[in-house]
């Protein structure tokens, strides 16, 4: 059994983590964001057990039932039902699974490819760098949603193509950040030392350089996560994303649009959930940036 002192020695991972947590939790917004996203994640994971109804079940006796606080509302459907009698709350809970998992997949996909390309560009420079940055410039020349729409149209509308399309749109940001960070770090002494010790290109790129370039990438990852959730919903809204009857938030909005005048709840709640989720992730991102950016850090 080992005893640990309350304050870890400077320089150790434990100390760094403690310092990071101190900076991160100094922002109340970041904590609220973390709490909200954690509960959202929990709801998404537990949706099959905690959702009051089957999200696809159409109750013919309950079309457009208003939420519980209306006189005509009922406790069976807390947030009301949509035009074919499906429970809005249950659909929102199941929708969290799609939005969060697609968002996470997009970030993993574009971060992995983006870091790899960025490392190549920043490490080798020369024509490799020129080629990679030029291709990324082309991607950036299109408005993101338009490019994603075009890609989805090419790949045929659906979950996977929406995911790939949004990952491609997010790619340039990871490439640029990684490249800039690598160029900044490459001339530092520890890298030269490692090279003199005989480290291979791959080792230098992934073991020596990459860990020291992660801070801006983590902040970008949260930004990409929230953008991905917005874009997925936008594609769903335009009918180019996840296809009905899947309870995706954007598609729910598109379906409810015709009944906007008579059933505000079917429109209001899916959008509110999208807004809150994106807002909370961005709050977390702001907290992360303050905690990870050495320029902003108090000494």
């Amino acid at each position: 059994m080992t005893t640990t002192s309350p304050v870890a020695a400077p320089g150790t991972l434990r100390h760094q983590l403690a310092e990071f947590w101190g900076d991160f939790s100094a922002s109340r917004g970041a904590l609220v964001g973390l709490l909200f996203i954690s509960s959202m994640l929990l709801i998404a994971l537990l949706a099959p057990w905690i959702a009051p109804h089957d999200p696809a079940l159409q109750n013919r006796e309950a079309f457009l039932v208003p939420p519980v606080w209306h006189a005509e509302g009922s406790w069976t459907y807390l947030l009301g039902t949509d035009a074919v009698g499906r429970d809005v709350l249950s659909r929102l809970m199941f929708g969290a699974r799609y939005s969060l998992s697609i968002g996470a997949m997009v970030v993993v996909l574009s971060m992995a490819v983006g870091i790899f390309l960025g490392l190549l560009a920043g490490y080798f420079r020369g024509w490799v760098e020129t080629l990679i940055t030029r291709v990324m410039d082309v991607v950036l020349a299109f408005p993101s949603l338009l490019l994603a729409l075009g890609l989805v149209a090419v790949l045929s509308p659906g979950l996977t193509s929406a995911m790939i399309a949004i990952a491609v749109v997010q790619l340039p940001y990871f490439v640029r950040l990684t490249r800039a960070a690598v160029i900044g770090e490459k001339s530092r002494e520890y890298v030269t030392a490692s090279r003199l010790a005989g480290a291979s290109h791959l080792r230098l790129m992934f073991n020596t350089l990459l860990p020291n370039c992660m801070a801006p990438l983590i902040v970008q990852a949260t930004l990409s996560f929230s953008t991905a959730i917005l874009d997925i919903a936008a594609l769903g809204f335009l009918g180019m994303g996840v296809q009905p009857p899947t309870p995706e938030w954007g598609a729910m909005l598109a379906n409810a649009r015709e009944f906007m005048g008579s059933a505000y709840w079917a429109v209001t709640f899916p959008g509110l959930v999208i807004l809150l989720t994106v807002l909370m992730i961005n709050l977390m991102g702001d907290g992360l940036r303050d905690a990870l950016d050495p320029k902003m850090k108090r000494s």
Partner: protein, 334 residues
């Protein structure tokens, strides 16, 4: 300076070629055969198919088709729409003013609200007002604008009846198209009531489209202001005994504006992407809605031409922003 501009222009050429390759490749990869689509449900005979294929040039090798596309592009010819049979360039140009007008008013809203909000937040740093303003702007930044549009329609159009739901002007007025900008055309016609109607129709879509740029501008203004407020020359200005209004407006804001103007210029991509959603919600007859229709109808030449033209506009504006930045801030010229 001229060298700086020429270098920037030369850098655009490979990117632009890349854009044309992407736009061209996209269309070849789109699922569905455009000729079968043209033929409709009744189908088409093999001879007629070959005839149409030759007529549209789809039977040649992709490389020849691409070079043909590029040559046409340099002459301002983007082919004809498969649906309307009108030149794609004309289709685009007839709708572009509507998008530009909407984007202009959206940006106007964004600057008029975002800039003062950022300045006030920076000068009152750490106060409740600062936190409130930045909370609002982060909310705006996180806004799913398609929902925001529906929400505003439900409140202001359906419930209160203050604003129209869709279109550019009331059907009571018929205005000859001169510039394509409804606000200018109505003024040229001297029809004051029509001008007011056009403005009335612009209010909601502009707010919806301007929300995200507004948030970005407010955040950027605040952080640039805070950076400049820490500079020595600002302290000197204060020490000289200048009024704090003068210190903020003349010494701080003017210098902070350099980065803010760059950020404003870079909103063009955000505006064009947002236009797709905003125009769909408000049935605004601009290029965003046109592109969505073209994609869903598989109108190959229209999608292709639209992609190239939109990317071209974005690149051009970014170039102008770069040049403007070089003019204001000579340190970055190299």
């Amino acid at each position: 300076m001229l060298k700086f501009i020429l270098v920037k222009l030369a850098q655009l050429v490979p990117t632009f070629l890349g854009v044309t390759v992407v736009a061209f490749a996209f269309i070849r990869l789109l699922p569905g055969d455009p000729i079968l689509l043209l033929a409709g449900e009744r189908g088409i005979s093999a001879e007629r198919y070959a005839q149409l294929e030759a007529q549209l040039g789809f039977d040649r090798s992709p490389l020849v088709q691409y070079l043909d596309f590029l040559t046409g592009l340099l002459h301002g010819d983007l082919g004809t729409s498969l649906v309307t049979h009108a030149p794609v360039m004309d289709e685009f140009m007839s709708r572009f003013p509507a998008t530009m007008e909407l984007s202009f008013f959206a940006l106007l809203f964004a600057v008029l609200v975002g800039l003062p909000a950022g300045v006030i937040a920076a000068t009152k740093r750490g106060s409740t007002l600062d936190h409130t303003l930045m909370g609002i702007s982060l909310t705006g930044y996180s806004m799913p604008i398609f929902w925001w549009g529906l929400l505003l329609i439900m409140l202001f159009s359906s419930t209160l009846g203050w604003t129209p739901v869709s279109g550019r002007i009331s059907y009571l007025y018929f205005i000859d198209t001169v510039t394509g900008f409804m606000t200018i055309d109505t003024l040229l016609a001297g029809n004051w009531a029509a001008f007011k109607s056009a403005l009335h129709y612009l209010v909601l879509p502009s707010i919806v489209l301007g929300t995200i740029p507004m948030a970005v501008i407010a955040r950027q203004t605040r952080s640039s202001m805070l950076e400049v407020l820490g500079e020595d020359y600002v302290r000197t200005a204060r020490a000289k005994g200048l009024s704090s209004f003068r210190v903020i407006m003349v010494h701080t804001l003017r210098n902070a504006l350099i980065t803010v103007i760059t950020v404003i210029g870079l909103q063009i991509g955000v505006l064009l992407a947002g236009a797709i959603l905003t125009e769909t919600i408000f049935s605004w007859p601009g290029i965003g809605k046109w592109m969505i229709d073209a994609i869903s109808r598989r109108d190959y030449p229209a999608v292709q031409g639209g992609l190239v033209l939109i990317a071209f506009i974005v690149m051009l504006v970014n170039l102008l922003v770069d040049i403007a930045y070089g003019v204001i801030n000579p340190r970055i010229r190299y």
